[in-house]
C-alpha cells in the first residue's frame, strides 16, 4: 500500500495526459456503443416544444459560439436544424460572436443542403452584427432596421421568410446556442423578458449549471446542456450524429477521471494516517 501511495502521489501528470488521450482514442477508433443514454427533462422539453410547433412556424437560431466550443455546440445546432427542417419550420440563423460567423454559415448551409430546402423560402442566414445587447434590443424593435441585409448581402425585405417577421416577438421560438456571454442570459435579460417571446437554449458544460435557473423559472422552454444534451437531442430525433458517437469517449474519460480521483484520495489519506501513526 505504501508503494502504491508513493507511486500515485509522485506520478508525473504527463502520464495521466497520455493515458487520457489513449482512453479517448479507443472509442474513436472502434465505437463501443455503451448503453445508458436517457434524455433529461430540459432536452425533452426543448424537443417536445419544437415537435409540437405547427408547420410553417418560424424559429430563430442564434449561433453564439466560436470554434473553441464547436464539439459541444455544433452538434446541437445540427440536430436542431435537422429537426426544424424535418418539421417544415422556417429557420432564421444568426450569430452574436464574430469568431463564429464562418462556422455558423458552414453548419447552416450543410444541413440545408442535406434537407434540400431553399434559401429565402425555408431558411435565411442573417450573419453577424456588432453590438450584442444593442443587436438584441434592436431586433426586438425592428429586425429589418438592425439587419438591412442578410449574410449574402440580399436586402432582408426581399426574402420571403423575413416578410413575415419584423421583430423578435414574431418568431415562434428563439434559440441561443451559446458558449458564454453574449448568450442565453443576454437573450433572456434584454430579449425575451422585455419583448415577450418563447426562448430556448443550448450551452456548454461549463455554463450549464448557471443556465439551469432560467429553465426552472420557465424563462426557457428547454435547455440542452453540453455534448451529452446534444446526444440526447439526437437520440430523441432518432438521427445519431457526432454527439452520440462522442458519448462513448466522454463516458470512458469520466471513468478514468473518477478512478484517478479515488486513487489520489486513497493514497493521500493513507499517507496522512501513516504520518499520524508516526507522530
Amino acid at each position: 500500500m505504501e508503494a502504491f501511495s508513493k507511486f500515485v502521489l509522485s506520478l508525473d501528470r504527463r502520464w495521466i495526459f497520455l493515458v487520457l488521450l489513449l482512453v479517448l482514442f479507443i472509442p474513436i477508433a472502434c465505437p463501443l456503443n455503451l448503453p445508458g443514454l436517457k434524455p433529461s427533462p430540459g432536452v425533452t422539453r426543448m424537443y417536445d416544444f419544437v415537435e409540437n410547433m405547427p408547420e410553417g412556424s418560424t424559429i430563430l437560431i442564434s449561433f453564439d459560439f466560436d470554434p473553441a466550443s464547436k464539439p459541444e455546440l455544433a452538434p446541437m445546432g445540427e440536430a436542431m436544424l435537422r429537426h426544424a427542417f424535418r418539421k417544415k419550420l422556417k429557420v432564421v440563423a444568426m450569430g452574436l460572436w464574430v469568431t463564429g460567423v464562418s462556422l455558423e454559415k458552414e453548419t447552416v448551409e450543410r444541413i440545408a443542403k442535406e434537407a434540400n430546402v431553399t434559401y429565402g423560402d425555408d431558411y435565411v442566414n442573417l450573419g453577424w452584427k456588432a453590438g450584442s445587447v444593442a443587436v438584441i434590443t434592436g431586433m426586438g424593435e425592428d429586425i429589418h432596421n438592425t439587419f438591412p441585409t442578410d449574410a449574402k448581402g440580399n436586402p432582408v425585405g426581399s426574402l420571403k421568410i423575413m416578410q413575415r417577421v419584423h421583430r423578435l416577438k414574431d418568431f415562434d421560438l428563439v434559440v441561443s446556442l451559446a458558449a458564454g456571454t453574449p448568450g442565453i442570459d443576454t437573450w433572456i435579460a434584454y430579449g425575451s423578458d422585455k419583448y415577450k417571446f418563447k426562448m430556448g437554449g443550448g450551452t456548454t458544460a461549463v455554463n450549464a449549471p448557471a443556465m439551469s435557473p432560467y429553465l426552472q423559472a420557465n424563462q426557457l422552454v428547454g435547455l440542452i446542456g453540453a455534448m451529452r444534451g446534444a446526444a440526447e437531442y439526437e437520440f430523441l430525433l432518432d438521427k445519431p450524429g457526432d454527439a452520440i458517437r462522442g458519448m462513448d469517449a466522454i463516458s470512458l474519460g469520466h471513468y478514468l477521471i473518477v478512478g484517478l480521483i479515488l486513487m489520489g484520495n486513497i493514497a493521500y489519506f493513507f499517507t496522512r494516517s501513516r504520518k499520524g501513526v508516526a507522530a
Binding site: 482514442f25 459541444e72 464574430v98 434590443t137 461549463v206 448557471a210 426552472q216 453540453a226
Partner: protein
Amino acid sequence: MMAILGVWVAVGLTLFMFSFLYKDNPFYKVGENLYVGITIGYSLVKLIFETWIPNVWRVVHPEAGVWFENHEWWLILPPLFLGSLILTRFVPKYAWLSRWTFAFVVGYGSGLAIPAVQKQAEATAHPLVTHIESFDSADKAATEAEKKATDLAASKGAGSDEAIKARIDADEYRERANAAKARKDAVSAAGARADKARAAANDARKQADEMAKKGPADSEEVHAAQKKATLAERAAIGAEMATWTAYSKSEYSVLTAWGDFTTIVLFIGVFSVLFYFFFSIEHKGPVKVFSRLGIIFLMIYFGASYGYTVMGRLSLLYGRLVILRDACYPSVGFATPVLLVAMITVLVVLHFQNKDKEENA
C-alpha cells in the same frame, strides 16, 4: 488542394497546442501567437467590413454613394464622435476625453442591466406565487371574447383587421380555458386512480392478514400475499402523490411550487447567495445563518460546475481527436502521422541540444 492544405494546418496547429502538455516549446509558441493574432485580425477585418463600412463610411463619405440619400445620416454622428474619443487614449494629454465615452457605455449598460436583474429576481420568484386561473373564470373570459369576435365579424366583416385580431384573442382565451379544464380534470382523474389504488391495497393487506391468521405465518403463500400487499401499498402511495402533484398544479392550489420541491430550493438558493454578497447589513444572527446558507449553495454550484467543466474539456479534446483521426488517411496525405513524427523528432533533437548546452554551461 486548398482543402488538403487546410487539414494540414488544422492538424499541425492542434499538435502544436497539445505539445504544451509535454512542456513549453517553440511549436507551442508558434501556435499560441498565431491563435491570438488570427483571432484579433479576423475580428478587426469583420468589424471594418461589416460595421464600419456599411454604417459609417457609406453614410458619411460623400463619394461612397449614399450621402444625403439616407435622410437619417446625421444619426451616425453622435456614436462616431463618442467612438472617436476612445482613440484619445493614445495621446496622454487628451486621454481624459475618452472617459466621456466610457461614462456613456457604463450608463447605457447600467440602465439596461439594473432592470434586467430586477426582472430576473421576479422571474425566479414567479413560479412560487403564480396564480392559477380557474376553469370557470377562463371559460367566462373565452365566451366573452368569442362573442366579441362574432359581433365584430358580423358588423365589420370577417376579413377586417379588428375581427381577425378579436378571433386570435378569442382562440387564445379558449386555449387557456381548455388548459384550465385539463388541469381540473387531471385532479379528478388522479384522485379516482388514487382511491382505486388505496382500496386495492387495503384489500390485499386484509387478505394477507387473514391468510396469516388461518395458516402457518411463514408459508410461501402468506409471504407472496404480503409481498403483493406491500407492492399495492407502494402503488397507492405513488398514486396519492400524483394526486397531490396534480392538485398543486391546479386551480385549487395557492402555491404551485408545493408540488415542485426544486423550485423552492432554487428560490432559497438564489436569494441566500444574493444575500451573501449584500454588505449593507452586518452579517449576524439570522442574517448570518442565511448568508452561510448562501455559501453552501455556492459550494454546491462550484462542485456541479467543476463536474460539468471536466465533461466540457473532454468534449473539446474529443473534437480535436476526431480531426486528428480523420487526417490519418492517404486522401489527406497522412497529415497526422507525418506531422506527429516530424514534431516528435524536432522535440527530441531540441531536448538533446538543450541538454548539451546545460552540460557545457
